[in-house]
């Protein structure tokens, strides 16, 4: 009667004995069937092999899902089937997976390459100067763990090197370095604290964590730690005013330049260059000659 009704049917119960039909299977089929039932326990009852056990479980699962499908829709949504894993732990795992702990990971600035070994360098009275644009996503993610251009910042690496025969000192001040764009717009360097604040990890993830109460505390702590690490790293990598002299012949640091809002759409580093002023130290430590020149990024 039931089988005559349309819709999903319950699968037949698992057969544990060999039938004539199965015996009529090919040699390989019989062999496989025999392997499934060849072990016999001490009471003479056949033991199920792992394969048979798996088949049993698979059939049970199939049956359960068929039963579920037969349930009314609201009950399906609740996952009322006793075989289903509970919803809450799954949701909790999902929240944790989505939020996760915050961590900051960035490489230190490379120290292998000196200014004098870069093709597009500038030499002025024994001081070599070179610049590198780190705004491409690959470099930016590598050194700052962020694609800074996405946030509207251009990181530029400045390399200074004093010629080995030079005994002169040069003063380089941060405020004397500007990024000159193709249209003539000049950008002053930005404070690394402002950059770090803008790109810091969001506390949204810890808010999500607080939905589960305890993980929220761990997440909040990890976000704070990561933000502290990020800011410290940015501060350490950033250019400060510096004096290049025979005791400190080489120096490298990063400068961040904020792209103005009206330049965001059409921003390009094509033909952009760094404009800087350096002061050659005069007699008796006095500020000497001022040298001013552009330094280009090269290809």
């Amino acid at each position: 009667m039931l089988s005559a009704l349309p819709g999903p049917q319950a699968p037949p119960p698992l057969r544990t004995t060999l039938t004539r039909n199965e015996a009529s299977l090919g040699a390989a089929g019989r062999k496989r069937e025999r392997a499934d039932y060849k072990s016999v326990d001490k009471y003479g009852k056949r033991k199920k092999s792992a394969r048979a056990t798996f088949q049993t479980q698979a059939n049970e699962t199939r049956k359960a899902s068929t039963d579920m499908r037969n349930l009314p829709l609201p009950l399906q949504a609740l996952g009322t089937s006793p075989q289903r894993p509970p919803t809450f732990p799954l949701a909790a795992l999902l929240i944790l997976a989505l939020t996760g702990c915050a961590s900051y990971s960035a490489k230190p600035l490379e120290t292998r390459q000196e200014a004098s070994s870069i093709i597009e360098q500038r030499e002025a009275e024994g001081l070599y100067i070179a610049v590198k644009d780190l705004s491409n996503p690959r470099d930016s993610l590598q050194y700052f763990d962020r694609d800074l251009l996405e946030y509207g910042y251009v990181p530029v690496l400045l390399l200074l090197e004093l010629d080995r025969n030079s005994q002169t000192s040069f003063d380089v001040r941060r405020e004397d370095i500007q990024l000159c764009l193709r249209d003539g717009k000049r950008l002053l360097s930005t404070d690394p604290h402002a950059v770090a604040e803008r790109v810091s990890f969001s506390h949204f993830r810890s808010a999500m964590g607080f939905l589960l109460l305890f993980p929220g505390f761990f997440l909040a702590s990890s976000v704070n730690n990561a933000n502290d690490e990020l800011e410290i790293d940015y501060q350490l990598k950033t250019m400060k005013s510096v004096r290049i002299n025979p005791n400190m012949r080489s120096f490298r640091a990063v400068m961040f330049f904020q792209v103005p809002q009206d330049h965001r759409e059409s921003f390009t580093m094509e033909d952009a260059f760094i404009e800087m002023k350096i002061y050659k130290q005069g007699q008796g430590g006095a500020i000497g000659k001022c040298l001013e020149f552009p330094i280009h990024f090269g290809k």
Binding site: G184, E292, P294, H296
Partner: protein, 247 residues
């Protein structure tokens, strides 16, 4: 459609044909005279004649273009630039006229920069930082305009030549050399790109035998008035090179 409306609509093309678009008899004659004066290199006369045309027909853009060219030759770069700007603002320019207007505006900026800081001096450190920066601004503006011109005609020799020169004066020497190499492919019979390339090589390696050879190769065709900048530069350079090279 009512007759009055029809007449009103018809008046637009008629006005355009006889008034705004073309020139009346007297102004057309003046414009022709101005054009002939330009061909005869009578720049001042051409500028005066074209001024009369512009006074009578202030919306006639070809007159601005022609007067801009005359004023450029008269070294009135600021006025020349204004004429080209006016022509662009009025519009109704052909592609060629638009290209000319943009490129000449760029050249006006280049020449203003050259007056401010000639190429014979720009690598010397005797200028103040402010002066150097001010000069650089001229070349930044010129470079932006040349890029606009190159967007209209990418394979134009002059646009590439002045792009190379702007890069040279912005002290982007390697990029300048790369751009000037394109000029060699576009027109190898011209000499300007060789002169600018030699200047760019000197920017990287100071005065060297390669750059000197380039200057002499440019001058090998004999003295010509247009080669004056090369002679002028070599005269300045004379003091900087070793006596045996000077000879």
């Amino acid at each position: 459609m009512k007759t009055r409306t029809r007449l009103f609509l018809l008046s637009f093309p008629l006005l355009y044909a006889f008034g705004c678009g073309g020139l009346p008899q007297r102004e057309a004659e003046l414009y022709e005279k101005g054009r002939h004066a330009m061909e005869a290199r009578e720049w001042a006369q051409a500028a005066d004649l074209l001024t009369l045309v512009i006074e009578a027909r202030p919306k006639y853009s070809p007159a601005y273009i022609l007067r801009g060219k005359a004023r450029f030759q008269l070294k009135q770069y600021a006025d020349s630039s204004k004429d080209f700007e006016s022509a662009e603002r009025i519009g109704r320019l052909t592609d060629e006229e638009r290209f000319t207007a943009v490129l000449f505006r760029a050249r006006c900026k280049v020449e203003e920069g050259r007056i401010n800081f000639p190429e014979t001096d720009f690598r010397k450190n005797n200028a103040s930082p402010e002066e150097r920066r001010q000069t650089r601004d001229f070349f930044l503006k010129a470079n932006a305009l040349v890029l606009d011109a190159l967007a209209l005609q990418p394979n134009n020799y002059d646009a590439n030549l002045w792009r190379g020169y702007c890069l040279l004066r912005l002290e982007n020497f390697r990029k300048a050399i790369d751009t000037l190499k394109l000029c060699e492919n576009l027109d190898s019979s011209r000499w300007e790109h060789r002169f600018f390339s030699a200047l760019a090589w000197e920017g990287i390696y100071k005065v060297n035998s390669q750059s000197l050879d380039s200057y002499f190769a440019v001058l090998s065709s004999g003295p010509r008035p247009e080669l004056a900048p090369v002679y002028e530069y070599l005269t300045v350079l004379h003091a900087d090179v070793a006596p045996e090279v000077s000879q």
